[in-house]
Symmetry: C2
Subunit: 468 residues, 2 copies
């Protein structure tokens, strides 16, 4: 019946069918959670089911492209819907939000994303915008921090400790670069100056965030600031970045040769790239930075040229064989295809990314609990805090020059994502962030995360029109 | 210095360098385990490090191709070496062997492998060898079971309960198809009749194994056999297989259209395939079968034609663009490339598989604890049990006809892998398998797993020479 529907009413099917079937897919976990299914596997096969369901539903996010929005927004919205079915009494997706394997794979996905984005850029291009990125990062940390600590603190939490106010400020400094990077990527704008400035500023922001977290934690717990701790942290973080880029650039050509000396196949090529990304991601986390900062640095360092000693992937030789009947022209064809292989590493990483990157954004959405929006007092305060959070970061765009589109850079810095939540969690653990304040920060994180993609899309498209 | 070595002595470098560097890579976990590295991430970034190390070292397994052995053997050996560094006092890799994320990804890898192998085959081809596969499976279960229960039981464990003897027999019936499938794949023999018979027999074996486990568990615990339990289990398992294949074949074309109605990109294509595989893998586990049996069935059901409504992957259009300077011939080139896209789903699955399939075999190796071989009594009994285990399965090859190479089929059924260990574990949990007997079974599993790849490689290559 459905097959007939697809054939007779292709237009209707195009919109209705995915929704119809997705509602069927959504109900699968209800069966699985009911315990009706008990195999000899336990948690691992059940996670296979989750992956099948979430991989599939994440791709519904692409439907949003039809109204001109980037897929990433669709993926987050899918996650938010699934994560809040509980409001309708359907707690089917609650286990997915806390499934350790899924959280791991999501993290793996965002590492792939930032690695992939790093691959598309290189150190030279980044250093051209280095000064602007630095200024954007500084403004984007200082203004939200001061506004959070003094303005928000004095307005709504006048009677609390300085420690609490400092944590409000700190949570407002964070930048979660994954979302902005995906918006730029989805709209084909990764190679613009604005994208590079935002990426660079986000890396610097992560270092500053690490220091701010150490400083405010120190003040909140002991009331004093241990300068030596902060000095060691800064040295480690900056040392890591310099070392990753310097050593990485020296080692990458050599590593490429080494890996290809073991095997020249396409599997080895991909293994080399992904292992390098994961290693640097781990090293970043070892000095206290976000793994994605390491993954981005790994991508910056690796260049197509480092993969030249690997063989063509199998399909290139298959294609060449298929072109043989062209006769003498087949040599020309082969020549034209030459060089195509070198870029191919990006295709390989993309293939793996097609699965795990959307998973990250769906899982991000799954963590969003909309019920915090139902408390009028929390919502009122949160809306003002969110407005301040927006303004603070948008002003960071002013730290650019030379024709850079300031609004695009500014809005690109807005999403707080998981980084803002980490700050709030640390504050809660230290006892300086109350449940109510935590909710306020969560709402601010939700709104900065959800509103930025459409705003950024609007700005980028308006800019295109002007240019045209 | 090393760069110069590579350039001046390419041959020496080809062999020595990978080993030199691998010894460096091996020592990375020592640093990480020491706790010297404490980031804000914890278990997830540490697993990134493990993945970087294990992905890289797994590829050293390909070095074994230089002495004519399949990579899968190399990957298992890498795992065995790393897993037994403890014998030298280096317990660096012990945490990896029990890391939940790695175990999950390894399981994901073997699901990908069997799915990929299923994709390469189809129901028609499989049903052609169905009768032979069925007979091979029956012989390969009955003979080892009788030999294990009566011969081994009476020889070495004359004074134990029938329950214990039954578990010895049961552990000898298992077939772990992953290893054999990889050997056939590595040597390009997946499309032979022998490979198809072994794959089919392994699926039937898994169902029979499920029933045997239920039967012997029932006898060992209650002393009686609950016929209804066994009947329900068989109905579920056979019902699943029939349903997966029948419903799958009806639904696949429709699902392909449905997914491509949401989006026609290459990411959607891969998501469709992998989600389908994971869903059926889960359903298999829900009826008590191994997830890989489901993944294989999913691959059998899906055919290139189900992917025809997806767009060409981006690189095919890039290639077409690159071929434009060929002028009028470029249309010919495009025509030649037509149809190439359809097969491409196998390339996509392979790309993801390049990472996670070798991980499965390294993790299999990591689980092997060689110290069980050091107890002379255990080793003596185990060697005889192993010999019987080999003979029992090799005799299964006699259940073939029509020019099928009986020895290749027989040896293909030999590896017991993780399935044999599951049986032994259940027996231990029921208290009928002693520590010593467990060790004997472990040695049998190790030897059937490690010795089969070189034997099978030898038989397949000898056969090639005869044909040439």
């Amino acid at each position: 019946m459905l097959t007939r529907l697809v054939e007779r009413h292709p237009k209707a099917a195009r919109y209705i069918l995915p929704l119809l079937v997705s509602s069927m897919i959504i109900s699968i976990p209800a069966y699985a959670n009911s315990g009706a299914a008990e195999g000899h596997g336990g948690a691992i096969p059940l996670t296979f089911l989750w992956l099948a369901v979430l991989f599939t539903l994440s791709k519904l996010g692409t439907l949003i492209e039809r109204i001109g929005q980037p897929s990433v927004l669709g993926e987050i919205i899918v996650g938010v819907i699934l994560g809040n079915l509980g409001l309708l009494g359907l707690h089917w997706f609650d286990p997915a939000a806390t499934n350790q394997y899924l959280l791991f794979l999501a993290e793996f996905g965002v590492v792939l994303l930032l690695f992939r984005i790093g691959l598309e850029s290189n150190i030279k291009e980044m250093s051209k915008v280095g000064a602007q990125a630095f200024l954007v990062a500084i403004i984007g940390v200082v203004i939200p921090f001061l506004a959070g600590t003094y303005l928000v603190g004095e307005l709504f939490y006048a009677d609390v400790d300085l420690g609490t106010k400092l944590f409000i400020g700190a949570a407002m400094t964070a930048t979660s670069v994954g979302i902005t990077a995906r918006v730029f990527q989805d709209l084909g704008k990764l190679n613009t100056k604005e994208a590079k400035i935002v990426l660079g500023a986000a890396v610097i922001d992560d270092i500053m965030g690490l220091l701010i977290l150490a400083i405010v934690s120190s003040i909140a717990t002991s009331g004093t600031l241990e300068a030596s701790t902060v000095a060691i942290l800064s040295a480690k973080a900056f040392g890591f970045l310099v070392a990753a880029i310097a050593v990485g650039q020296l080692a990458a050509p050599w590593l490429g040769k080494l890996f290809s000396s073991v095997h020249t196949g396409v599997g080895m090529k991909l293994t080399f790239a992904i292992s390098f990304a994961l290693l640097v991601a781990y090293l970043a986390s070892a000095v206290g930075l976000a793994p994605i900062v390491g993954a981005f640095a790994a991508g910056l360092v690796l260049d197509p040229v480092h993969f030249k000693s690997f063989k063509s992937p199998e399909y290139v030789s298959k294609i060449k064989k298929k072109l043989e009947p062209l006769g003498e022209k087949s040599e020309d064809a082969a020549a034209l295809l030459h060089g195509f292989d070198h870029k191919h590493i990006e295709d390989l990483v993309d293939t793996v990314g097609h699965l795990f990157i959307p998973l990250f954004f769906v899982m991000t959405g799954l963590q969003v609990k909309l019920d915090v929006l139902f408390d009028p007092k929390v919502l009122g305060v949160a809306l003002i805090v969110t407005a301040i959070a927006f303004i603070g970061k948008v002003m960071a765009g002013l730290g650019t020059w030379g024709g850079t589109k300031k609004m695009i850079v500014g809005f690109g810095m807005v999403p707080r994502g998981e980084v803002g939540l980490i700050f709030a969690n640390v504050g809660m653990a230290l006892g300086v962030v109350t449940d109510e304040l935590f909710s306020v920060i969560v709402v601010m994180v939700i709104l900065t995360t959800l509103l930025t993609p459409p705003i950024l899309t609007y700005l980028l498209k308006k800019d295109d029109k002007k240019a045209a």
